[in-house]
Amino acid sequence: MTAIIKGTTGDWEMVIGLEVHAQIISQSKLMSCSPASFGAQPNENVSFVDSAFPGMLPVVNKECVRQAVRTGLALGAKINKKSVFARKNYFYADLPQGYQISQADQPTVGEGVVTIDLQDGTTKEIGIERLHIEQDAGKSIHDQHPEKSFIDLNRSGVGLMEIVSNPDIRSAEEAGAYFTKIQTIVQYIDSCDGIMARGSMRADVNVSVRRVGDKNLGTRTECKNINSVRFIKQAIMVEATRQVEILENGGVIDQETRLFDAEKGETRTMRSKEDAHDYRYFPDPDLLPVVIDDEFINECKDSLPELPDTKKERFINEFGLSSYDGAVLVANKKNASYFEKVASGVKNKKLAANWVVSELFGALKKAELDINDCPVKAQDLAELISLIEDNTISGKIAKEVFADMFKTSKKPAVIVEEKGLKQITDTGAIEGIIDTVITENPNQVAKVKENPKLIGWFVGQVMQKTAGKANPAMVNKLLAQKLK
């Protein structure tokens, strides 16, 4: 849905494009044989190639190409059999070569499309312009010394995928949904871990504004390196508002690279990017064109798991889930796989979805736990739901059992056994308790004859006497007979 910015002279719409940077999951770096892993000591994961020593040469890591092709396939994008690595030339402290090896006019992946789910239940298609492979930069650390920045090149040369969207996005919400969807997809196919806190995924946000109804694009600015979905949304709002203000006051927007400062809630010109308009791209003369064949592409295809959109459709069609439950369950690969394990052990898949979405996710959220650290095994949750299905316990008791499982990681059958929570389904036993309640409360019996709605009071008494274990349906049925 298009979000409107109300200006003093009229309504404005935002035109947004995202460049999502996703670090490729691979053992070694894109152009060198040093580790691509996170969290090593300073310059530990660095070779002479990564630190651009004289005479060092790049050699392309096959896995990085493979991951990019897999990601391209998952985005429904065109795979280019021939791609060319080019140099993007600029000077910066964390860019040892003085150029980044990237891809310019011949990327590995071409146009594709991503469907995003919006809060109002609608979906929207966002076009992908391209996906190219490039080297990540190193890291500058600014807070260790009063006059110096420290440079750690561990990240320098790690393979990155830059996924460039078309300017199809019209609101901060759409931008967030788009980013999250890309994150979901790369996590599904294991081409990127998607962990934003580590910088494994970040985005450059291109924003321009135009008057509602205007077909021409305004001048855009680019906010670099934003590392959370919340900040992406904030940066868009802050930047779009700034642009509207300038335009309404008769100013012009400079096409420039800006920095989003989350603390101050502002964007400002990045001085280091003053040359940004002239990167002097040219084919890297140390490398030859990358050419892949159908066999390579087919192997990539075969390695892809079921993708979130397909999975959601299957959940809806096969399991009869609601679109909402389907979307929530597939949004995260680990959640989806947990749910599938639960669902495989029960008859009623909808009931399984309810339990996972409401009870389990609720409990995890409250305990601030990741599904990986969930104390309740999927198999155990399935068992618990089966106990409801075969009338061993009631849904209400099940919630009690679940709370216990969450605390102790015990099997549901064990808890039911230990606490004697088995549902009473023996007619004789229930009748006995009902008779006692009736005998003990003659006044209430008289009242219920006048007002049948008061039967609920008797249900409560019976449940109390059985500690909730009596089968509620049977209690209702028998009470109705006896109090007629």
């Binding site: 020593f53 004289p54 005479g55 060092m56 070569q97 280091s272 140390d286």
Partner: protein, 483 residues
């Protein structure tokens, strides 16, 4: 004993094998010659102590019958090849303090073949130049005359072989940097096919043009060197994965039936009489040896030089961005990052290097990329196609290599274009990635060596060496500089 430095690699190897002298004696002779010819400024760094201990190892290997193909041969490397634990400067202040902790593939291969390294040889700064004068360590002098340039950029490599202060040497050739100084100093030098030798560990000038190659006293020494430095290297994406022939085996002197092309476009305007004459002599020599001379046309020859400078400068501007003072090399402190970069690079690089970086930056910059860089790449294709076509009817080409003998130090320096014109015969094959060899064939009117060039098909160094060897045998060039 005869002066051991007069022996070729093949003669010295026989001498070692026959125990006529030891590797230590051979190396010591060269160390003495290095001292004696120190005024030529061929060396930037001498590793004589290490050379002597290597020579002892060589003698042990010989004694125990474990002689490697080039056991005990005292060579030296252009100071563009990184050598582990030995300062590697690229002839520039920028790397005056740089000692790599890795060894270039080529120098490693030669060491494994038994070669001993006497040191690192002078060159034009970052291999950019044709006169050997732009080194931070001073210019190289020509053994044939102290007021003459040795050529460039592999000035020290050609000078040392000519002055007998190394038995052979490595050089690099981006636009003629092996062949031109070889011609100026009266020695043999081959630039192999692009991809024949690994570029790993060699300070880059222009990546799509750079190739390492040998300079030797004669064609045979070059063939032996080349056999021992070539081969696929998985660390260099542009290194060709094809077998390395025994290059020495083709040196039979028999070129019967070989078709040698004479490209008419190499008859440039105002070609000096003596160059035309030596070229003509060369044709006769090859005919004498049994080859057939065929006229061919390489119509885009004159455009190769301007296109070369566009491509070489463009690649250099990017390749040299890594010299920023942060991780190694010269550094001038600055208050801000950009100030540090600018001061470091302005002070660290010489004038010619800076000029080429600026030109390269310009031809790649927005608005000029298509007009210069892409245009040059297209011309490069045309130049390469010319060769392809010519090689449909001939096996190799015979051309001049330099438009003059070695010129005086200080000449041609005011005008960069005039200086670049020295490369007019040499750059064409670099554009196409082809092999070419410079062989000394005679003396100029002023008594200076003149060379001719044999150009071959890609990865057909065998024919280049075979024809060069025939030329060498016919020419009987035995003049030596008066040292």
């Amino acid at each position: 004993m005869t002066d051991l430095t007069k022996l070729t690699i093949s003669q010295a190897t026989t001498g070692l094998k026959n125990k006529d002298f030891s590797a230590v004696e051979l190396t010591t002779s060269y160390i003495n010659q290095m001292e004696k010819t120190d005024n030529l400024n061929a060396y930037i760094t001498k590793t004589t102590d290490n050379a002597l201990s290597q020579a002892k190892i060589a003698d042990n290997n010989i004694a125990s019958g474990n002689m490697r193909p080039m056991e005990g041969m005292p060579i030296a490397h252009k100071d563009l090849l990184c050598t582990k634990g030995v300062k590697t400067t690229a002839g520039s202040k920028m790397l005056d303090n740089f000692t790599p902790d890795y060894e270039s593939t080529v120098s490693q291969k030669l060491a494994e073949s038994g070669c001993i390294s006497l040191g690192k040889l002078n060159l034009d700064q970052f291999a950019m130049g044709s006169n050997g004068q732009s080194s931070f360590y001073g210019g190289t002098k020509n053994p044939w005359g102290n007021d003459l340039v040795a050529g460039g950029s592999s000035s020290g490599s050609a000078c040392a072989v000519s002055a007998r202060s190394a038995i052979a040497s490595t050089g690099t050739d981006t636009g003629g940097s092996i062949r031109q100084p070889s011609a100026f100093c009266g020695v043999a030098g081959i630039r192999p096919t692009y991809g024949r030798c690994s570029r790993w560990g060699v300070v880059a000038y222009a990546s799509s043009l750079d190739q390492v190659g040998p300079i030797g006293k004669d064609v045979r020494d070059c063939a032996i060197m080349l056999s021992n430095m070539s081969g696929h290297d998985e660390k260099d994406s542009t290194s060709a994965n094809i077998p390395v022939p025994d290059f020495e085996a083709v040196l039979t002197g028999d070129v019967k039936g070989l078709k040698i092309g004479i490209p008419k476009e190499y008859y440039i305007d105002d070609m000096p009489q003596e160059i035309a004459k030596i070229w003509d002599n060369g044709k006769k020599m090859l005919v004498e040896a049994g080859a057939e001379i065929v006229d061919v046309s390489l119509p885009h020859t004159k455009y190769a030089l301007p296109a070369y400078y566009i491509i070489a400068c463009a690649e250099a501007s990017s390749n040299l961005s890594r010299y920023d003072g942060v991780r190694y090399g010269h550094r001038v402190s600055g208050k801000e990052l950009d100030e540090m970069y600018e001061l470091t690079r302005s002070e660290g690089f010489g004038e010619e290097v800076k000029r080429r970086i600026l030109m390269g930056t310009y031809v790649l910059s927005a608005g000029f990329y298509d007009a210069y860089y892409i245009k040059a790449q297209k011309v490069r294709r045309l130049v390469a196609n010319d060769f392809k076509k010519a090689f449909e009817s001939v096996d190799a080409l015979l051309t001049p290599i330099t438009p003059s003998p070695a010129f005086k130090i200080g000449e041609n320096q005011e005008d960069p274009v005039k200086m670049y014109l020295n490369d007019v015969f040499s750059v064409t094959l670099n554009m196409a990635g082809l092999p070419g060899m410079s062989v000394p064939v005679g003396l100029s009117d002023s008594g200076l060596p003149l060379g001719l060039q044999i150009i071959g098909k890609a990865f057909d160094e065998e024919t280049v060496l075979k024809a060069s060897y025939a030329l060498e045998k016919q020419a009987k060039f035995d003049a030596t500089p008066n040292i």
